[in-house]
């Protein structure tokens, strides 16, 4: 992924691409009314080609290194590369913000390798969010290693590293490529074995910095605190070089994560291809119900416009299920001749590593013409440049949308990206407000390293690594109070001036940086006799995707789940023919634990944020027919509950407000659910967070403040069986244990939240509610009116 010589010419052919775009623009959905507001294309933006901005190779770069780069075709640097290497050379912490494939790896490799050539004792630790990305970098560094006559040694160190190779890596690796999870559970708890590395640690490189947000980022910030502690113990003080995709606050994020000052380098000197960005809204097929044509179908057809013209195309979907659905459709439309390998593949988290490497290679080398992927391909995995990208559904954030779109025409020539909106409120808001999207800076990446649950877990790990000294600081926190709490809980013992780990367990094992639980379910295919592992899913998803009787989709094949073995964390599946897939039904309950702050919201409503306990359970599933999306059956399930302590923001509708609404009980309940749904979409927009970071649920307001509250049950209403709430709390909770810092900002922004939600619902062209505002009208004919009536009783 190094920068390529400027002489490289466009390889894509503009004619078929332009044809495909024309075909999209002129296409009208059959059966849809053809007035202008229904035109599927809501925006076409041209991003002009950009020329490279060159700088000379700095004079301090050692001869042999400059020669090695020259041999790779790199004689000069882009302006941002030059700025980054100069800042790194000067010993400053740097974060480089540029699109993928703008030569960011040179920004860290050049200063690091130069330092190693100057002093062979120098050590560097590179951290990548995934093993795949580390593997990619390994290839690039091996190439340089060879060109430099083995003047340095580079290794990956991750869960796949064989035991007998580990010792050599610890002793001899100048550059160690790893990931936060391995640092957390494999390196720091054994730091004495990494003496050479820690005593000489001069650089910590963090690639794809923007991925460290939310719960993962909060964990990672604590891993870096621990890393800093250990480095100090061995007398080193490493400098950071980070790279990030475009987000609103790269400098803040870097400073929050590493707790150091950073130089931000964000002008991009790399050339860029001419690119067309098209917004596509599936046509309305039923105005009264606000039903649009399925965006999965439309994405498939859009992708087909490109694939049919021989253009290499990447389709992004937002979930595993959608990925597999699109793959199924595209495979049927592009069947390979008998005996030939398929030219369309799927790519997502559950695939095994070997399979993923093969797909990446297929894309680079052109053997694959189309890939349907989840965000697993959004990061800097090297797949070369593609002609077209189709986004099936808004990825949830502006940053992610640009990142995915950037997969088209990464280097030169011209390319096209198409966003196909789903009928979800956020998608509809974005697709109908293109200026909001194109004019707005991308999201802030938020982290909360001092989330108590996360912090305490990492303090346990830190104490395991080195005793905690009284008065010591852990990031911004003085540890004494927390250490005392851990002492009382029996994990630490104070001896003299320090707290020592006093437990038999190895704390890092029990703490996953990425999810609530660290254990994954392995998918075992029993179709061929001896069970064979074909993939894995994490615990929370397992309950929803591989419950008994579920139809599990993997690489376009359908499997029926025969058995879910909780003890061994295995799901046994068998390949089947099926004309339906399954969708899990989840029930959620919330219990309010403690209020952090409360205030009024108009005359008959209140806004609050605080701690809650959320319990959710998969209680059944629906069978949904392929292509038609008909509901063709259902089943009940008995699966364990998932319990989570987190933070929430909620709006309380007081009794007089609820009873003052001129509607029946069922209508009022439907209206509340519809309102909460719209509130959630707008909250995600205002917070600039991923919509999956929030959860929603309604509960009855506890009887009296401070009194022991009965658990307020809330279940998504089944049509015709609405539960009556007298004083409902409409909760929006952080979808991570311990909370991730969204509740307090929502509390502050409550008025704007209500105002924007009113705009969204009012502006929606449907009559009685649709998936784009308060949800489908089947919930109740009056949901939209009731939601607006409630909003009218909240302050402007």
């Amino acid at each position: 992924m190094a920068s390529l010589p400027a002489t490289r010419k466009s390889i894509s052919q503009p004619a078929p691409l332009a044809d495909a775009v024309d075909a999209l623009v002129t296409r009208r959905g059959t059966g849809a009314e053809t007035n202008s507001s229904d035109a599927p294309i809501t925006a076409i933006r041209e991003m002009p080609e950009r020329q490279a901005d060159w700088r000379e190779m700095p004079g301090w770069v050692r001869q042999e290194l400059a020669a090695a780069y020259r041999a790779k075709g790199i004689e000069r640097l882009y302006s941002h590369q030059a700025a980054a290497v100069e800042a790194a050379r000067a010993g400053r912490n740097v974060v480089v913000v540029t699109p993928t494939a703008s030569g960011k790896t040179l920004c860290y490799n050049l200063p690091v390798l130069n330092a190693i050539l100057e002093n062979p004792d120098t050590r560097a630790l590179y951290l990548f969010p995934t093993k795949a990305l580390a593997q990619d970098q390994l290839a690039e560094l091996h190439d340089l290693e060879e060109r430099l006559g083995d003047a340095f040694a580079v290794f990956t160190y991750d869960g796949d590293t064989p035991g007998d190779a580990r010792k050599a890596i610890r002793e001899r690796g100048h550059v160690v490529l790893s990931n936060p999870d391995m640092v957390h559970a494999g390196i720091l708890p054994h730091h004495t074995r990494w003496l050479r590395l820690f005593e000489n640690l001069r650089f910590v490189v963090i690639d794809e910095l923007h991925t460290y947000r939310g719960v993962f980022g909060s964990h990672f910030a604590n891993v870096l605190r621990r890393l800093g502690r250990i480095a100090r113990f061995y007398g080193s003080d490493p400098q950071f070089i980070c790279s990030s995709a475009t987000i609103a606050n790269p400098g803040d994020l870097a400073e929050r994560l590493a707790e150091e000052r950073f130089d931000v380098i964000d002008e991009d000197g790399a050339p860029a291809a001419r690119k067309t960005f098209v917004f596509y809204n599936p046509p309305v097929v039923n105005r009264r119900l606000g039903i649009r044509r399925s965006y999965i179908h439309e994405s498939w057809r859009v992708a087909q416009e490109f694939l049919g013209r021989g253009l290499q195309t990447l389709v992004f979907a937002n979930s595993r299920l959608q990925t597999e659905l699109l793959l199924t459709y595209l495979l049927q439309a592009n069947l390979a001749p008998p005996g030939e390998p398929q030219t369309i593949r799927g790519y997502r988290g559950g695939y095994l590593p070997g399979e993923r490497r093969e797909i990446e290679r297929g894309l680079r080398e052109g053997g694959l013409r189309g890939v349907v992927a989840t965000n697993a391909l959004e990061l800097g995995v090297d797949i070369g440049s593609l002609d077209a990208v189709v986004l099936a559904g808004y990825p949830g954030t502006i940053a992610s949308t640009w990142q995915r779109a950037g997969r088209a025409g990464r280097r030169s020539g011209c390319a096209c990206a198409v966003l196909v909106a789903s009928s979800a409120p956020l998608d509809q808001f974005i697709i109908t407000h293109p200026d909001y999207f194109f004019g707005r800076s991308p999201e802030h990446a938020l982290i909360q390293p001092d989330n108590p649950e996360i912090l305490l877990n990492h303090l346990k790990c830190a104490a395991f690594e080195l005793p905690l000294k009284a008065g010591e600081r852990f990031g911004a926190i003085e540890i004494d109070a927390a250490a005392t709490a851990l002492e009382q809980a029996g994990f630490l013992h104070r001896s003299g001036n320090a707290w020592h780990w006093t437990d038999e367990a190895y704390p890092a094992d029990a703490i996953s940086l990425r999810a609530v639980t660290s254990d994954n379910f392995v998918i075992m295919d029993t179709s061929g006799g001896e069970p064979e592992a074909i993939g894995e899913v994490d615990f929370p998803s397992a309950l929803a995707t591989v419950h008994p009787k579920a139809i599990y989709l993997h690489d376009g094949n359908l499997y029926s789940v025969e058995k879910l073995d909780f003890d061994d964390r295995k799901a046994f599946v068998r390949q089947v023919e099926s004309d339906y897939y399954t969708d899990a039904i989840r029930y959620t309950q919330v219990r309010m634990l403690e209020k952090a702050a409360e205030a009024e919201l108009g005359e008959a409503a209140r806004r609050t944020h605080g701690d809650v306990l959320v319990r959710s359970q998969v209680v059944g599933f629906k069978k949904i027919k392929f292509f038609t999306n008909e509901n063709v059956g259902a089943g009940n399930l008995e699966l364990p509950e998932n319990e989570m302590h987190t933070t929430a923001f909620w709006i309380t509708l007081e009794r007089r407000l609820v009873e003052g609404l001129p509607y029946g009980v069922a209508e009022r309940q439907a209206g509340m659910w519809g309102l909460l749904r719209a509130l959630e979409a707008v909250a995600a927009l205002l917070l600039m967070c991923d919509r999956r970071d929030l959860g929603r649920v309604i509960g009855e307001r506890p009887p009296a403040p401070g009194a022991e509250a009965p658990p307020a049950a809330a279940i998504e209403p089944v049509p015709g069986k609405a539960l009556e709430f007298f004083e409902p709390n409409l909760y929006l909770y952080d979808a991570y244990p311990g909370g991730i810092g969204f509740s307090e900002p929502l509390f502050r922004m409550a008025r704007e939240l209500a105002g924007r939600t009113r705009e969204l619902i009012r502006a929606c062209p449907c009559e009685n509610g649709c998936p784009s505002c308060v949800g489908p009208a089947e919930r109740g004919e009056k949901a939209k009116a009731v939601a607006l009536a409630i909003l009218d009783r909240l302050p402007e």
């Binding site: 708890p189 054994h190 730091h191 004495t192 074995r193 003496l195 113990f233 061995y234 001092d450 108590p452 649950e453 912090l455 305490l456 104490a463 395991f464 690594e465 080195l466 005793p467 009284a470 926190i477 003085e478 004494d480 109070a481 927390a482 250490a483 005392t484 709490a485 002492e487 809980a489 029996g490 994990f491 013992h493 104070r494 001896s495 003299g496 320090a498 020592h500 780990w501 006093t502 437990d503 038999e504 367990a505 190895y506 704390p507 094992d509 029990a510 001896e530 634990l593 403690e594 701690d611 306990l613 302590h645 311990g738």
Partner: protein, 433 residues
């Protein structure tokens, strides 16, 4: 969040308040507790002091076991194979240091601490034991300094499972001091590995206590469950009475004595295997074979077979002996063993469990193959060679419950040979598979 089981919600909320409020100062832990002083009395120890501070030391002298008289024999179990000068060092039993630690866990990593370092060496016709104990974590430096001094005086470390556990742990603790750098031992004899080879088949378990009972004939009497040890130490740290720790000291002494006795027994066995049990003889031959001492290995396999082995081991010994004989060029010896093995009954009910059945099957297949090789290439009797190959194919075809890869591999090998034999050597004699 296992640790907050009792009142997890309350604890989190309380902690959040604490973190938010100005930081409260933790109450100073009580430095001296009654249990701590009573422990020295209970275990008969003394408080020692060096430049890092104090620690508790216990010394004992045991008349049994008696010092090892053939220490150099243990050079045979040292890994890697020791150089001459190291072998000389191993041969001086007054240079040995037995080590066994009691730790705060089995997980390893920097958070596991050796709170009791048990040492022993031969002295005055018996075994001297010295135990170094941390009355609190703060005493670790002092204990490690004392340990470094012992390691300097005696350069051959003898442990049981110390290669993968005690020694790396001790090394980690030294590194964590950033100050005390011990001299690494010249040789490290870990008796677990030879013990496994010699006695696992016989005893099933090669835990030290099992070896004491089954091999040395020592009965420990009451002892504690070693899984309980970390918690006993944690309780002591938090002020519980010293009695349970007294048991830990005793347990550690028994481990050291058992280890020393085992070393002596092993050395005697290696020097003079004649009186050994058949199963030990088999284990010893394996040990010599791995060290490349083929002549001794062969002699011991023969002794073991003469002394009588259970069917499974008898076949294993015959198979190994046949291989050595073949390598030594003694075809007749090898062939008579292969012939016997090739005629074994694959359904032999002595073979229990899938691993044993598979081993039996593999032995028969290899033996048949060896017979076929012999007839094809040495005796030039293709018909006989084909007959042995057919037997192997027949045995393979009737075998049940073996994995697909194993079956395919053998099927392919045997099919190739049969095909070649069918062509009747028209292309001349082909090299053996």
């Amino acid at each position: 969040m296992k640790w907050l089981n009792d009142d997890r919600l309350g604890a989190i909320a309380a902690l959040r308040r604490k973190l938010a409020a100005s930081h409260e100062v933790a109450p100073q832990a009580d430095g001296r507790r009654g249990g701590r002083d009573r422990l020295a009395e209970l275990v008969g120890g003394t408080i020692e002091r060096n430049r890092y501070g104090e620690f508790l030391r216990v010394r004992r002298w045991l008349a049994q076991p008696e010092p090892c008289t053939q220490p150099q024999a243990l050079g045979l179990v040292a890994k890697p194979e020791p150089a001459a000068e190291v072998l000389g060092e191993i041969g001086r039993s007054d240079g040995w240091l037995f080590l066994d630690t009691e730790t705060t866990g089995l997980a390893g990593g920097t958070g596991t601490c050796a709170f009791l370092v048990g040492l022993a060496w031969w002295e005055a016709g018996g075994l001297a034991i010295e135990q170094l104990f941390l009355r609190d974590y703060a005493e670790e430096h002092a204990v490690l300094l004392a340990l470094a001094e012992r390691l300097e005086a005696r350069r051959v470390l003898v442990t049981f499972n110390g290669k993968s556990f005690d020694w790396p742990l001790v090394e980690t603790r030294f590194r964590l001091t950033r100050e005390i750098e011990p001299q690494p031992p010249q040789a490290h004899l870990d008796l677990l590995h030879p013990a496994r080879q010699l006695w696992r088949l016989q005893l099933g378990s090669v835990r030290l206590t099992a070896l004491e009972r089954g091999v040395l004939g020592i009965e420990r009497g009451p002892d504690l469950l070693s899984e309980l040890i970390p918690q006993m130490y944690f309780d002591y740290l938090r002020g519980a009475g010293p009695e349970p720790l007294g048991q830990v000291f005793r347990h550690n002494q028994m481990d050291l004595a058992g280890l020393a006795a085992l070393a002596g027994h092993l050395a005697r066995l290696l020097v003079a295997p004649e009186g050994a049990e058949p199963l030990e003889l088999y284990g010893l031959s394996r040990l010599f074979e791995r060290r490349g001492e083929r002549a001794r290995a062969r002699h011991l396999y023969e002794m073991a077979l003469d002394a009588g082995l259970p069917a499974m081991l008898r076949r294993a010994a015959q198979r190994r002996l046949a291989r050595i004989a073949r390598r030594d060029g003694e075809r007749a010896v090898a062939n008579s063993l292969w012939r016997e093995l090739a005629q074994e009954d694959p359904e032999d009910t002595n073979a229990e469990g899938s691993a044993e059945r598979r081993e039996l099957l593999e032995t028969i297949l290899e033996a048949c193959e060896q017979m076929a090789i012999h007839y094809e290439h040495a005796a030039h009797d293709p018909a006989e060679a084909a007959a042995w190959t057919r037997r192997a194919l027949g045995v393979l075809a009737e075998a049940e419950g073996i994995d697909r890869r194993f079956r395919l591999r053998w099927q392919e090998r045997l099919d190739r040979r049969s095909e070649r034999l069918r062509q009747g050597g028209r292309e001349g004699s082909l090299p053996a598979a």
